[in-house]
Subunit: 285 residues, 2 copies
């Protein structure tokens, strides 16, 4: 019997157990656990099952076996939970880039030749040559959303408008233009970005260092990956400028209006994730 799964965009594709195995291993599950889960899933799937239903089943099983791997497995949904608005995602991108040595400014109003623009993130780096990047963040709060051609077109036009003003000697010049998104980009958007030298950082794109790999490499997980972060907690953390799990362990959390009991739970979850993270990465070397 053929088993097909329904993807979030409504498309059908054949069920491929090796895909689950790969994702599980990438999230850090050990071989034995990963194989065991795939075996269990194979018994439960049926023709027409939704990918999100498979995701739910896998997470459930993984939580029992390796709870902290389960959190990481959930990275894509965790980032979506930074919504519904794009505000917190912009903060997240800025914090992520800090871990890569950039200095960042959020939501700056910058004058261009024709109009003023709000630039989501300005990132600057000065080891070696100085680089200033104009970064547009494109957040989608539903799976299946994608960066389209219009998004890269308007971002590029904004970059031109800003730099034309700078060339008149009146403003900051941007050396690079980036578009960062939590979803995929269409083939056309990718081609346009490549052709214009625009840096596109999306989900699993570029394959070698997409958003998910940038996060995993530095362990800069969003707070929404922790199970005890609900809507209200996220709002309080976000208002206090905390979007990364790492920050939970570095910042003074006593005055942000979260109860002691919940704080304790939060910090314990954060510590477990960071510890496991560290030993995992040492294991890789």
């Amino acid at each position: 019997m053929v088993i097909r799964v329904v993807k979030s965009n409504g498309e059908l594709e054949d069920f491929r157990p090796e895909k689950i195995l790969r994702t599980l291993r990438r999230a850090g599950a050990d071989k034995r656990t990963a194989r065991e889960i795939v075996r269990k899933i194979e018994k439960k799937v049926y023709d027409g099952i939704a990918t999100r239903e498979i995701l739910r089943l896998v997470k459930e099983m993984l939580s029992e076996e390796q709870p902290h791997v389960a959190m990481r497995y959930d990275l894509k949904s965790a980032i979506m939970r930074l919504g519904p608005a794009g505000f917190t995602f912009e903060n997240f991108v800025a914090e992520l880039l800090k871990c890569y040595g950039y200095q960042t400014r959020l939501r700056s109003v910058v004058r261009g030749r024709c109009v003023q623009h709000e630039v989501d993130v300005i990132a600057e780096k000065s080891d070696g040559d100085f680089v200033r990047a104009m970064i547009e963040c494109k957040f989608h709060n539903l799976p299946g959303g994608a960066v389209g051609l219009k998004d890269v077109l308007y971002t590029y036009a904004r970059f031109l408008d800003l730099n034309e003003f700078a060339e008149e000697g009146k403003g900051e010049r941007f050396d690079e233009v980036w578009l960062v998104s939590n979803t995929k980009a269409s083939a056309e958007a990718t081609r346009y970005a490549e052709c214009r030298g625009m840096k596109l950082i999306c989900w699993r794109y570029p394959p070698k260092l997409g958003l998910e790999k940038m996060i995993e490499r530095k362990g800069t997980y969003p707070v929404t990956i922790l199970r005890s972060v609900d809507r209200g907690t996220l709002e309080k953390l976000s208002a206090a400028g905390i979007v990364l799990v790492k920050q939970l362990l570095e910042c003074d959390l006593s005055r942000i209006g979260i109860s002691k009991a919940r704080l304790k739970k939060l910090i314990s979850e954060a510590e477990q994730l960071v510890t496991e993270e560290r030993s995992n990465r040492q294991g890789e070397h």
Copy 2:
């Protein structure tokens, strides 16, 4: 007592009877009728009334007095009824431009330097200097929508991409870039378009020849302005390439699947509108 009206975007503004008078007169109502209607409306409004409720009342009263003026008064809603998708609006824009002496091509796929683009309308004119315009149509099917900065930015980037390819001697060069919409444009979008020499044709913008004036000047009303055009009729007309009231009187309608009774009604309404239109315009001279 202060009476405020709720606009379609949710904003409040003071009720101004002279605004209704002006719109009525612009639609062609005679002075006596217009004043009479305003008097009746003043008795019916209450604090917090929606503008669309006022519109409904005015149309009702106007239909009794001057039925064909009532149709024109309804122009904005008639254009929205070309939706929900933007397809028929593109056809409408192309037909409108033909009345201004342009030759038009719809939804052409044109190669740019980086990617291929679908251009909604290509319009060419050759009386005097030859002009080729790339036209992006932005249709909103709800009142309150507006052309924003991102729309003019991506349209301009598309124009650049197409012309950079043309400069390599490989494609058609566009002399002008236009954006046509059935709603208003934001102040930023307007400023950017002006600065880039982009032609912006929106609702009441530019003030001297916005979309509504372009339509009124040539009497190129959309078929949706006729009361007997419902959803199903519109689909059949649209499939047959008919979007203007004028076309109803010029084309062979016998084979497009509309019943004889309805056709008769349609044509009678169209004839009344066109006749009144003509005498109105003669009256203006």
